[in-house]
Amino acid sequence: MDLRNRLLVALALAGGLLFLSPALYSIWMSFQTAESYYRGEFDFTLDNYARAIGQYNFARYLLNSLIVSGLVTTAGLAFAVMAAFAFARYRFAGGNLMFGATVATLMIPSHITLIPNYLNLARVGLLDTYAGLILPAVSNGFAAFFLRQYIRGIPRALDEAAYMDGATPLQVLWRVIVPVARPAILSMGLFIFIGEWNNYIWPLVAVGKQDLYTLQVGLARLYKINPGEGAIDWPLVMAASTLTILPVLLGFALIERHLVRGITMGAVK
């Protein structure tokens, strides 16, 4: 690299750091004691993390978020792949109508379903359960639509060869389609996971029991119902925040370009 390029890289890094500085500074803040923060000094400590995880139950919230997002992603992908396969390869009675109904969910704002979904789950006794958190998020019209378009691009000759060898439709799906469509399935899974991990309004509504809070709800409560009188314990809150974004942050570092490609695929043709 010549000097000019190095200068540009340094400038870009500085710009990026400036843009992210509030977030970066709050991660830094999470490693200091509250007393030293309010005095404007710096004492390194892991105490905020220990307190967030133990005293304020974030270990449990982390586990809940992993369970909920993990299951929503797994079940969501399984249903989406099967629906996509059916829509892409089969003509059946009502198929077009069903596909239309699936695609139309992309337009439906989630807030219209908030109250009725709450009432339904209350009626069958699923409020304050993992099932209540997970089930409404499992069907994903966008994933089904996206994967159908992808599967349609896979040559039918591949399916037919497998059928000749005596494979059942499920075997074709599992042995032929899924391996070929793997990049699309993985990036879709990533979207579902991040979306569910960051979901706030549904867990807020569907869960009252503290043991079932996800990280998002737990963090919002920790911030709003603040320990102590008056002054907020910012270093503690920032440690909890860092725990909340950690998995997405790690994922982002690994697959940023993948993610961006997936997003522009959806929006710009």
Partner: protein, 275 residues
């Protein structure tokens, strides 16, 4: 398919039905009251205030985001290392938790021990009560939302800009077009479909803003940041007025569906042109 019916289509019908009834979650009966809930809603101060707040939020944040994003995207459109680094930094907030962003910016704009007021202190300025001042709180939310969404807009604009044929720029260069001139006469018109797409998407998004409001201001001070979904949540889940809450949900639904249909037309047209 069953899931979609149970958790999307049936609820829409249920919402519509509940919007004509009076109910508080608990009573055994749900008497039919016709359009009474809509009448109450449309004659309440809260509804018009909330609509106004949401409209102001949208009218300021959407043009701000799109203008900034296009300007930034036209600098970051080239595939160089600095460009990729900056794109990554800008994009990071849009995949990050909104709750975390709201909490971090609550600290940034906190009256005591906050980042901005600390800076003001260094400059010898007075502390400002950013989130307790009805004149300022909405601006803070607009800024936070812009910070979160900007990277997404930039990425979409970059994809749109990359689709503009290079020959057009070459031709403009041969004709001796100045940079600003080329930007106004070539870039802006040709990136119009992307602008239109982002316009609709971000208006839809602005009308559904909830998390930053709930975490940072809870609609206050004095209703200054009471966006529509925040009002829906308050009526439904803290006042337990299911009928009025459902009526509000139905109104929001009708409006957003209209926008979504516009969006579908935009996308449909562009896919058609592309192929």
């Amino acid at each position: 398919m069953g899931f979609i019916a149970v958790f999307t289509y049936i609820p829409i019908a249920v919402s519509l039905d509940l919007s004509f009834r009076e109910w508080d979650f608990l009573s055994p009966t749900k008497p039919f009251v016709g359009f009474e809930n809509y009448r109450i809603l449309l004659s309440s101060y809260d509804f018009w205030n909330s609509l106004k707040v949401t409209a102001v939020f949208t009218l300021i944040s959407v043009p701000l985001r799109l203008t900034l994003a296009l300007a930034i995207a036209s600098y970051l459109v080239r595939e160089t290392l600095p460009s990729r680094l900056l794109r990554g930094a800008l994009f990071l907030p849009s995949v990050t938790s909104t709750v975390v962003i709201a909490v971090v910016f609550s600290w940034v704009f906190a009256t005591d021990y906050g980042l901005v007021n600390a800076g003001f202190g260094l400059l010898g300025l007075q502390k400002v009560m950013w989130m307790q001042d009805p004149q300022l709180a909405l601006w803070v939310l607009i800024l936070v939302n812009t910070w979160k969404q900007l990277g997404y807009d930039v990425i979409i604009y970059i994809a749109g800009l990359q689709a503009i044929p290079q020959e057009l720029y070459d031709a403009a260069a041969v004709d001796g077009g100045r940079r600003r001139h080329v930007f106004r006469r070539v870039t802006v018109p040709l990136v119009m479909p992307t602008t239109y797409f982002l316009l609709v998407v971000s208006v839809i998004e602005a009308f559904q803003v909830f998390t930053v409001v709930d975490v940072m201001t809870r609609g206050g001070p004095a209703g200054a940041t009471d966006m529509l979904v925040n009002m829906l949540y308050r009526i439904g889940f803290t006042l337990f007025d299911i009928g009025t809450g459902s009526a509000l949900a139905v109104l929001l639904f009708v409006f957003l569906i209209a926008l979504a249909l516009i969006k579908a037309r935009v996308i449909g047209r562009r896919v058609h042109y592309g192929s």
